[in-house]
């Protein structure tokens, strides 16, 4: 009797911890696989070349989100009165670079079209923030078929 009771209690705890142990072990494995995958997948760096007399060097970014605006702290800071304080942002997700206007006064343009929704950027696209025009270069841009 006593041993049966203790055995039941031990089995109960074993089943509980079997449940938890297995679940967390599976999650751990999944995490490792995930990190290997993401480690292999490189973020394609994005470079912006200032066109029509814009100042300075080409700027290269290797981060998933780039903020564009006049205010200090922007990743791409544009000291131009036609650029809003928080003008636009460029983001990388789902294996693509996207450009998104943040309700700027003078608008963001992709290849001459004013943005109303976020759009995908391709290598060689031209983006205009207010009055400043940039050419976009994306390193080892993935083939469209991959998407």
């Amino acid at each position: 009797m006593e041993l049966a009771i203790l055995a039941l209690r031990a089995l109960m705890l074993a089943a509980l911890y079997g449940f938890l142990g297995w679940a967390f072990w599976l999650l751990w494995q999944g995490l490792q696989r995930q990190s290997q995958k993401t480690g292999a997948a490189q973020l394609p760096a994005l470079t912006l070349f200032a066109l029509d007399g814009g100042e300075g060097e080409p700027q290269r970014f290797a981060q998933p989100e780039i903020s564009v605006g006049r205010q200090p702290g922007s990743d791409l800071r544009l000291a131009d009165s036609a650029v809003s304080a928080r003008h636009a942002r460029l983001t990388y997700h789902h294996s693509q670079w996207w450009v998104e206007d943040l309700l700027s006064r003078n608008g963001t343009f992709l290849n001459g079209e004013r943005l109303t929704t976020p759009l995908v950027l391709a290598d060689g696209d031209e983006v205009r923030f207010g009055g400043l025009l940039f050419r976009v270069e994306i390193e080892n841009a993935p083939a469209l078929a991959e998407l």
Binding site: M1, E2, A4, I5, L6, L8, R9, L11, M12, L13, A15, L16, Y17, G18, F19, L20, W22, A23, F24, L26, L27, Q63, P64, E65, I66, S67, G69, Q71, P72, G73, S74, D75, A85, R86, R89, T91, H93, H94, W98, E100, L102, L103, T117, P118
Partner: protein, 815 residues
Amino acid sequence: MADTRFTRRAAIQLGLLIFAGAFLAFYAAHLSLSPAVFQRSWSGPFRWGHWLGLLVWLLVFGTAHFQSLRRLPDHDPYLLPAAALLSGWGMLTVWSLLPNFGMRQAVWLAIGGAALVLGFRLPADLGFLRRYKYVWLSASLLLTAATLLLGVNPLGVGPRMWLGCCGVYFQPSEPLKLMLIAYLAAVMADRQALLALVHPLGGGHAPGAPAGEGWAAPLLPLLAPTLVMAGLALALLGIQRDLGTAAVLLFLYAAITYVTTRRRLVLLLAGAGVAASGLIGYLAYDLVRLRLEAWLDPWLDPSGRSYQIVQALLAVANGGLIGRGPGLGNPGVVPLAHSDLIFAAIAEQTGLFGMIGLLAALALLAGRGLVTALRSPDNYRRYLAAGLTAYLAGQALLIVGGTLRLFPLTGITLPFVSYGGSSLLVSCLALLLLLIVSTPRGEWSAHPLDARPYMRLGLVIGLTIAAAALAAGWWVVYRGPDLLTRTDNPRRALGDLYVRRGSLLDRNEHPISESSGAPGTYIRRVLYPPLSIVVGYVSPVYGQSGLEATLDDYLRGRQGYPFSETWWNQLVYGQPPPGLGVRLALDLDLQARADRLLEGQRGALVLLNANTGEILAMASHPGFDANRLSADWAELVNDADAPLFNRATLGRYPVGELEQLLPQGLAGLGVDPTPRLRLPTGDAAGDLPEPGAYSPLQAALAAAALSNNGIRPAPRIVTAVNLPGSGWTLLPALDQPLEVVAAEAAQRFKDKHAFKGDVFWQVIVEAGTDSGAPLTWYLGGALSVRDGMPLALAVALEDQNPGLAERIGQALLQP
């Protein structure tokens, strides 16, 4: 669509469900045996009813498993098993406490399961929930408001937060939480452009730039509509005094606003809001003040305001490491152990390991909920999943933390686990929405994702879970042994029903007090009731007194057994082995004679063996009958004659001329303070000494010192304990005999007061008190200790009646 493909995810879900089922089956098997374990016999009664609940569980989650594979292919495989484990565990725990409620919980589980399985057909984008957000929330608010007018409480008393009829009750504040989450997620998802403006800039990538909150747009325009709706909900709950739910709503609102706006300002504001509402609540609501005070210092009023939390902590402590086992222990003594405080019952049944297991299951649920949020196809469902996770984890941790005194105790349920139809149904709906959102649909997200707020939310939940686990360990390992010896732990007295308490015997092994009956119904009876005042009582309601209190460890088998035996009994039965018999020095014949003589008087006497110090009779009148304690209690405690007060040891009577009559006076005879005895003698620290006043016990010891050639004996009321294996073993006196006066001086005194043919001496003194209360002392003793049983006696009579005192004394001293 119709085929249930056997994918990796399907295998994980099935495997985990089988583990959960195995756990529940072992739990149920143990619960079946538990009544027999209480009786300590194989033949004892068994319980079978709860297997019906397990069958319902099996049907519900079996169907949910296959239907979810069919309708929601490749959904998250951890959510359903975690919820299945928690809900099954909860239902069986409820069943172990209250079988009727367990049956109802099984019915609710079936209803919740049906809602879950039918809900698998809902459209994947949950548009109906998003589009009509104001309709859903308003309907919930109206239902909640309706409880103000039509509310009832199924228990008949307490806050009226339920709507119901015909025996079915529903608590509208439960779906209100769900609807508020759906509403907030929809509003935030509809206001993406505004949201983008209030986001802190750049994610801190720019080197040297400070974090960007300073440049972000103000929050108020974005939050204004949600503040109105959430404020309305909070106000309703405030009026209703459903403060636990209000706290959960506040947490939900803060969590959703934080992950959507990513502004830490929200957290600061929410923290300030909690502090402010706590303060307002403290000032405005008695309930809040009570809860906060019980949280800060539960030991102040453990039988009143903090009764619930103290009992919960005692249950946690009694669980120990592996628990008392399902169906064992006494988790039912915790108020609301089946609903709000079910975690205390789980703690007692499954111990620290069970608590950590439950917390880990919660962590699994919360973690997968957040992963679901991160992987959601659009912002609406992302916010929804995050909100649902915050709801399940936040509410669970608030009540678990409350049970472990990590937070103030609030009256909310533990999702999936607690008894309660509304709670279980809403938990199932939350699970349903999470499962739907977690199903990949091959959709793109059009919105960028900043994972950090979700990670931080996960971190907060994770840290709170870790803190709860640490608190559980603290109460079990560090404070546990200490807590369990508290006198307000009802488990010890309840254990007397199942484990036979040792008998108290007189010197000739006639029983004075013994337990009779069968396991489960043992009753303690004092066979010679006039001795109640010395023997005392043991009761779950009134506590313990007298020898029942001082000899408790022997009588309950906690002392006297080898350690391994006590440990094994505690491990298997959660109770000590059968109690040990204790033999007293009292002689029932002499005792009965003493009680007859004092009948109808107020006063006390102590008769002892002057040589050995054994107390042969101890009487204090008026007395009480320990067998009629519950009937007489109110009368006894209000009686001006103090019948519960042992005058023989605790009474202090002025001795008057006695001080001059005795050589060296009473204090010089080594009786002040009273030599230690296994009874309270009124000399403990804190008792006020009364100069010139002594107890009958002290006077009797002084008389014994004179009879015993000037050696004051060590008093003994207990002589032996019946140890397992070695049999009756003598218990030494607690004090040492002491030579206090020269034998010649004692002899001179005895010769002077010798009476009637040189058999004994006596002195009689009238010693009225200053306040005019009459009092007569009689002291007497044997002239010699050479032969027979040399007696010594002190009588204190609260009356001016030397004749009666002499009659009593001589009747006891005469051979």
